[in-house]
Amino acid sequence: MQMENVKIVITGPFNAGKTEFISSVSEIDVVSTERRITDDSRVVKGRTTVAMDFGRIAVDDELMLYLYGTPGQKRFDFMWDILSEGMLGFVVLVDSARPETFREAKTLVNRFRRYSPTPYVIAANKQDMEDAWPPEDMRIALRLSSDTKVMSCVATDRESVRKVLLELLYSILESAD
């Protein structure tokens, strides 16, 4: 029986909550390929290694959903080229309580939209924090159109993550054959 694999990419500025997001729903312990120190990447012996999260959800005996958490900075565009191949859609996670990251998130959304015309959802993460900006204010701050889905999210809450994934899947369904 041939196993079919599909993937969804989770991206966003540094420390937006990508690891927690994937961990909340992954059936395997989230694999991080590199230990983070101050950034998503390290240079080791002249080679740049990249921190990335990897999780999995077994849909049934024939279908596996992989979740890839990748950093969104421009210098990791080569990762995007690799991961976006065959991607169903992506989630952009934004830390709602750190407006200093909104500009980076906005740049990231604009760049990825041009690279891959696949459905995506913006997850306004850390909505449980007192300083979190409401999702609709973030929509305006990120200059997102009214038809872009901006969802409230708490990445450590499985139910919240489930809702974000569902919303993305419904968007993918709308664009499917």
């Binding site: 849909v59 959903l65 909104f102 015309p117």
Partner: protein, 271 residues
């Protein structure tokens, strides 16, 4: 839930845009350069502004606007039992010193002076508190934010900031679908009106600039203003796709089977 941050990350223009589009009511406090500004809004309109507290109140505003003399202001202050601007205003009108229109224009002028000064602040903390009103007795004058935002954008000089806000001139523009966006109430320069006349998802910003013989900086500044005022929004350009270089290659979405997605949805629902 208070919105707070630093102007380095979210400038005054962007804050006003957010308050305007979300039709917020409340008070925005900005601290910077050793000063504190308080700006109040009601349903997305600017109604009050002060710098460093009371800053002279109504009497100070009228004196600054040349509507009353220094001597008259001393007399009024001595006679009034209250320092509330509304009561002082009534006193001044009844005494024949000023008209109601004088008061409205002076308060409006002072409010705009404070706000335009804030556009020059690039560093400082801000905090927006919903539903916080101006002090009891303060005179409020509703002012639409669109024109203020446009004027503030015109004052933006930093090229780097414009480049960050609008890095891609190959994007196109379309008019926003906000029901309350009214182009006829907006004061635009001739250049801005020329750009408006070219707005169409088929025209990239670069093409609009070329048609109007504008350089990168000028077109960025104008488009930034229109975006900030919520009049237009960025869209992918319509029409034939341009040839992209390898790093910008668009990876076509895989042909997706509905049945596969439905299985995924079913699984996630059951999680």
């Amino acid at each position: 839930m208070a919105l707070k941050g630093n102007l380095k990350d979210f400038n005054v223009t962007q804050l006003f845009n957010l308050i305007n589009l979300a039709r917020k009511s409340g008070s925005l406090t900005i601290e910077g350069l050793g000063k504190t500004a308080e700006i109040c809004f009601k349903e997305g309109k600017l109604v009050y502004a002060s710098l460093n507290g009371h800053d002279g109140g109504l009497i100070g505003m009228l004196e600054k606007a040349g509507k009353i003399s220094g001597e008259e202001s001393r007399v009024v202050r001595a006679r009034s039992r209250s320092s509330a601007d509304k009561e002082l205003g009534l006193l001044l009108i009844n005494a024949g010193y000023v008209t109601q229109d004088d008061i409205v224009q002076s308060v409006r002028s002072h409010t705009l002076d404070v706000v335009y000064l804030l556009f020059t602040w690039s560093d400082g903390s801000f905090r927006f508190e919903p539903n916080k009103h101006p002090l009891e007795g303060a005179i409020t004058v509703p002012i639409n934010l669109e024109n203020i935002i446009m004027e503030g954008s015109r004052r933006v000089k930093e090229y780097e900031m414009l480049q960050n806000e609008l890095p891609d001139l190959d994007m196109a523009l379309k008019f926003t679908e906000r029901p309350d966006a009214k182009l006829r109430d907006i004061n635009l320069t001739v250049e801005e009106w020329r750009v408006i006349s070219f707005i169409n998802p088929r025209n990239s910003i670069r093409q609009i600039a070329k048609a109007n013989s504008m350089g990168d900086f000028r077109i960025r500044r104008i488009v930034y203003g229109l975006l900030s005022a919520g009049l237009v929004e960025l869209v992918m350009p319509d029409g034939p796709q341009k040839v992209r270089t390898a790093p910008e290659a668009v990876s076509a979405p895989p042909p997706v089977k509905r049945s596969l997605i439905l299985r995924l949805i079913d699984k996630v629902k059951r999680m």
